[in-house]
Amino acid sequence: MSTQAGARGSRAPYLFVAPAVLLFVAFLAVPIGYAVYLSARGLRLTGKGIFGTREEVFVGLDNYARTLTDPEFLAGFGRLALYGLISVPLTLGAALLFALLLDHAGSRARRFSRTAIFLPYAIPGVTASLLWGFMYLPSTSPFSYLTRELGLGGIPFLDGGGIYPSLANIAVWGGVGFNMIIIYTSLRGIPAELSDAARIDGASEWRIAWHVKIPLVAPALVLTGLFALIGTLQVYGEPTTLKPMTTEISQSWVPLMQIYRDAFLRDDLPLASAASVVLAVGTLVVSVVLLRITQRRAFGGMQ
């Protein structure tokens, strides 16, 4: 990118970024600062009232100690990891596969398929969880209906370990289309001559995909991978919606559910703030590490 001598010293760029900066400070920087401040406070009892009244005092790093030593909170990350290990590779793998097939001249029904696979992107997570929830419940599930008819018994979608693939499936279903479109548009940006040259050399379509196309869309893959990862750390709506249907999901099943519980059900905002800070820092660290190991191929930076 280049800059213009003529524009230097002008007030225009400051005016252009002013609304964004103002809002950034008000709704990102200040809340973060406030969360950090609040995480060092705690509600403690004072003598007033018949049972006493809880009031805010400074408690230092107490909340962080409680958060980081809480086995439930840490176990939430474990469950998240297991869930992410299923959902992230599947989402990306399926998105890449569909994108390559859309880009493959031999495929038919491409327009229809592209639209159909993209459709779930328009459906809110809460609604998606509801739809899949009904398809998991033994008495309304069409899949369990089929297996029962075949004499195999129902499928334990919501019991035991089945909950992980079931939840991951909702994420895959909702995410595959969007990621597919990003990769697909990226594939379409590849000059046709590259593939054609390989084809003339006698390479098969799969070899072309593997050796020509995939390396060229690597930045798009890093980007989608990063979003899938951030999305995983933020899982909240799906398990919350399925919770009433199964005993597998506790109120602290994933970190954000526990944060919500502490903040709103247990009225312990300081503790929830500390956990929020831990989660935010964790996400930043994971993102930065991911970007480093992919050699900062995405996001360019300011040269």
Binding site: G33, R44, L45, T53, M245, Q251
Partner: protein
């Protein structure tokens, strides 16, 4: 109540100016009433409630009180309303009044969210039985007017009971026998469900057995969630679960509703509001069901606890405490109000309301039960006088739900779940600064 020391940094960042500019166009809601100076015209009250008949009751109140107009908002169910009321109270924009479940009151009091309205309640105290009045009064202070109560009873599918030739059990020992009988006669059916999320239900059953989950004396609390009677109740259900005599899964899910509709769930030991709930699920079974007294631990006893029910409380935010108290009193003692409640299937908290039920037809689900209101009145008269909830019931509730669900899932003892809940509750109270007896 605002959190201290925060407005400074915000003002310093200029945020307050920005937001104040933005807020000029918004509807101030409850907060705007606070800025009104002298009360000249009619007072407008904001009221939060979720229950079914509330809208009709509020309309009736507004018609009868030209000078107090109430605006009703449904802020979600009992748990959501309590949670939102706490946070809204901190932010200084709580409504004037709200429906609250009895077990959430102590937490609200400790958070400083509710107003003591004892100065306005002398004229209605006698409209309630002493057992009911203690649900909202603590040590001379009154934090709400009882609205509806849920004396515990057993709701059962009489048609299916007759088909299987079984009788409603009088004791819990009989209950276990009937449960086994049901499994034998119809292997797909269960007498009842053990739902790990039903904290209030388990608390009620434990109280019936003599448990006392929270006690306060000289500012020192005793927590008895894992006391002897509670552990015995847990052991009783453990036996039924282990032998597959009850269905151990969440209640009122699409799955459960489906089983109920198929006649595979034969009873629900719960409370007087249950026929209304079940009617919504199994309309087709209207008239098939009936209620019976809750089984007893000792033959011949008639002790039951309350499960559920709510009061209308006045918040500390309210600038119109007197009008709010007038509203709360009318809603829970006036004939027009309790007639609506009864029609909606709620069991009124007031004595007059309870008496009025005898001349009403039974709820639709139990339409064919002639002695419905008799049994209901008997249950109401048999409630244990003092029920004590603690300042962190929500912590106990979430801990219990998770621990009990894990126990059912992993086939670990329910008793351990109770002990874990007890520990969580005690730790939480100590961390907050309460004096708690024992470890």
């Amino acid at each position: 109540m605002r959190i201290k020391g925060v407005s400074g940094p915000i003002a310093a960042l200029g945020l307050a100016v920005l937001l104040a500019a933005c807020s000029s166009g918004t509807n101030g809601g409850a907060g705007s009433t606070a800025t009104q100076a002298a009360e000249t015209g009619p007072v407008t009250l904001q009221h939060w409630c979720w229950s079914a008949g509330q809208k009709l009751k509020v309309e009736a109140f507004n018609k009868a009180h030209p000078n107090i107009q109430v605006r009703l908002t449904d802020a979600g169910g009992g748990t959501d309303t309590a949670a939102k009321l706490l946070t809204a109270g901190r932010a200084g924009n709580a409504p004037d009044t709200a429906c609250l479940e009895y077990q959430t009151l102590p937490a609200m009091i400790v958070a400083g969210a509710l107003a003591d309205i004892s100065a306005h309640t002398a004229d209605v105290k006698d409209a309630f039985s002493p057992e009911v009045w203690t649900l909202t009064s603590f040590d001379g202070a009154v934090y709400g007017i009882p609205q509806d109560v849920g004396p515990m009873v057993m709701v059962y599918n009489r048609k299916r009971f007759d088909e299987l030739k079984i009788e409603p059990p009088a004791t819990w020992e009989d209950f276990a026998k009937v449960a086994a009988d049901v499994r034998e006669k119809d292997p797909e059916a269960y007498l009842a469900t053990f739902a790990p999320a039903e904290f209030g239900n388990f608390a009620g059953l434990a109280q019936q057995a003599g448990a006392s989950w929270w006690k306060i004396q000289d500012m020192t609390w005793t927590v008895g969630i894992a006391d002897v009677p509670s552990l015995e109740v847990a052991g009783f259900w453990q036996g039924l679960i282990d032998k597959d005599l009850v269905k151990a899964e969440p209640l009122l899910t699409p799955e459960w509703n489906n089983q109920l509709n198929k006649g595979k769930i034969l009873s629900w030991p719960s409370a007087l509001w249950a026929p209304g709930v079940l009617y919504g699920i199994a309309e087709k079974q209207a008239g098939d069901w009936a209620i019976a007294p809750l089984p007893q631990w000792t033959k011949g006893d008639s002790r039951v606890a309350f499960q559920g029910g709510s009061a209308i409380a006045v918040t500390k935010n309210s600038q119109h405490a007197q009008a709010a108290a007038t509203f709360a009193k009318w809603m829970n003692t006036d004939k027009a109000a309790y007639d609506i409640q009864i029609a909606e299937g709620e069991y009124p908290a007031s004595l007059a309301g309870q008496q009025a039920t005898s001349s009403s037809p039974p709820p639709k689900l139990v339409a064919n039960q002639k002695d419905y209101w008799e049994i209901a009145a008997k249950a109401a008269q048999s409630t244990i006088p003092h029920i004590s909830w603690g300042p962190n019931v929500s912590t106990a509730q979430s801990a219990f739900q998770d621990a009990a669900a894990a126990a059912v899932r992993d086939k670990t003892p329910l008793a351990e779940a109770l002990k874990k809940t007890q520990q969580t509750v005690v730790d939480d109270m100590k961390a907050t600064g309460f004096k708690v007896a024992g470890p």
